[in-house]
Amino acid sequence: MSRRTVPLREVASARTGDKGDIACISVWVYDPRDYADVKASLTAERVAAAYPDLWRGKVTRYEVPGLHGLNFVLRDALEGGVNASLNLDLHGKSFSFLLLALEVEVERP
């Protein structure tokens, strides 16, 4: 076994939802054996620091170990929300792919 750095998209899926100016992105590992590694790599602090000009507020991470999921709640993340944003993607539907582009370190044979 060795440690390898891969884009999150290779080991997990993600889905974005929105409420006002808050984006929430859930992350689900394909293989439960990667859950601990992804959890260790993908901290709330790291997500908050990843795209500071877009995701400008506090990031809270919730863990759902029974389902091998993580849920990130990003405040002040939608350019003011659907009321104010000038982004074509008012709801931030595409933001899951910003998260999936981040690299994580996982164990591989």
Partner: protein, 442 residues
């Protein structure tokens, strides 16, 4: 067991999969969710312009497509298509049923409309201002009602229940409580029923929509996604599934992704009915396109109700123009600079203008991400919000003038001005709500 399906997950959802469910689903209930956060405000504006309007614009087409089958098969329809005018929606369905030769009962739920209670002194906690200080014209206000508003309507044994603003999962939870006789303070079981509603309310998002990402996530027959339904047991555990022969897939992962969709704290999903706890859920495949969900918990419901105040939000102006071939990105950047320069220096426009270069950097532009490839097909998109219609028209005119006055080889102008509404959440006492059920017959 109760069989309950989802017939629409937003105002623009597909109609044919709902028809399939109505014909072949052997459903007890079919719920249509057609109201988004800002839909009510648009509905109020429509009602102000015409007192007979303000309900779901596609109600005739959407219900007309399923009504005869639902009546024939004993499937009760529950829907929030009343939007800002449930009573007018009820009358529209009476007329529709008469035209179709159907004798039906329609129960209309009212009480969510709080527009008359909003004053200039109403506080808007999200921005810490009063309505007066906010300075925008109020379009309307509605509370998110829960099952206690829908249950008295179901007691009338109608063919169709029509509401205005209710919490989306409540459209599904109310029929389950009605049929199983669950206690409305049995929080864990209300939590389980709420999870069923939450999983169904966005239709295809649990059957393979908003999911495909080849080669990692592949969805079979994706152009023909089936709408979901649930087989719910009296203890609230449920199997989420779809009709045989429809496209898409119901898998452990489609259900997991949808379970936390638009959820913040998974252990505290707040609705008017319950504080549902999804964090303890078990999700397991139980056959092809069958996923069982159990183990959801629940605690006491929130004391107050959330309500949304809608405001007239001026205009969103958007204009587009394209450059292609060698140097396309450079020419589009030059065009962008021209538009900005003229809006500020000729037209003295102070509103914020955003210019995206689609093909180089657009949706993720603010994240600092752009394509570094030699992009040869670039679409300039300028956007601005303004209370001033003339300013909106000026942005469109400036982008359109790139035809003659912009860089070489530009074409493909399109421009739109969209009236915009904005929203603010407030919280109201449950005692402020006066529920009313009106029964109509065709």
């Amino acid at each position: 067991m109760v069989r309950i399906g989802a017939g629409a997950g937003f105002a623009g959802d597909r109609i044919d999969p709902a028809v399939d469910l109505a014909k072949r689903g052997k459903l007890d209930f079919l719920a249509f969710e057609c109201v988004a956060e800002r839909t009510l405000a648009y509905g109020h504006l429509a009602r102000m312009a015409d007192p007979g309007k303000g309900y779901h614009a596609l109600i005739d087409r959407r219900l007309g497509a399923v009504l005869a089958d639902c009546v024939k098969n004993g499937t009760t329809i529950v829907t929030n298509m009343g939007v800002a005018n449930p009573r007018a929606a009820g009358r529209a369905v009476v007329e529709l049923a008469r035209r179709m030769g159907l004798k039906i009962r329609i129960a209309v739920v009212e009480g969510d409309d709080l527009t008359d209670t909003i004053t200039p002194d109403t506080r808007l906690p999200e921005i810490g201002k009063t309505v007066r200080e906010h300075g925008l014209r109020v379009a309307g206000a509605n509370a998110y009602l829960g099952i206690d508003a829908i249950l008295p309507a179901l007691d009338q044994e109608p063919h169709v229940v029509i509401t205005g603003r209710v919490a989306d999962p409540s459209l599904f939870l109310a029929p389950l409580v009605h049929r199983f006789g669950w206690n409305v303070d049995d929080w864990p079981i209300l939590g389980r029923g709420t999870a069923v509603g939450h999983l169904l309310e966005c239709t295809t998002q649990v059957t393979g929509g908003y999911f495909a990402d080849p080669p990692y996530k592949v969805v079979p027959d994706i152009a023909y996604l089936g709408f979901p339904y649930a087989e719910v047991d009296p203890d609230g555990t449920a199997v989420i599934t779809k009709l045989e022969g429809t496209g898409g897939a119901v898998r452990e992962l489609t259900v997991k992704e949808q379970l936390l969709y638009e959820v913040h704290d998974p252990s505290a999903y707040l609705t008017p009915d319950v504080t549902a706890d999804f964090s303890t859920a078990s999700i397991a495949e139980a056959g092809k396109d069958r996923v069982r969900i159990s183990g959801v918990g629940g605690r006491e419901r929130p004391a107050t109700l959330k309500a949304i105040v809608g405001f007239d939000g001026g205009f969103l102006a958007e204009a587009e123009f394209s450059y292609a071939g060698a140097g396309a990105a450079s020419r589009a950047e030059l065009a962008s600079a021209i538009v900005r320069e003229r809006m500020v220096h000729i037209h003295r426009c102070n509103d914020r203008i955003r210019v995206d270069l689609i093909g180089v950097s657009a949706l993720h532009a603010t994240a600092g991400i752009s394509s570094h490839a030699d992009t040869r097909d670039v679409r300039l998109r300028a956007a601005m919000r303004t209370p001033d219609r003339l300013a909106a028209e000026t942005l469109l005119a400036e982008v359109e003038s790139l035809w003659l006055s912009g860089p070489a080889g530009g074409g493909g102008y399109r421009g739109t001005i969209t009236p915009s509404v904005t929203t603010q959440a407030i919280y109201v006492e449950r005692s402020a709500i006066e529920l009313h059920v009106e029964v109509m017959q065709s």
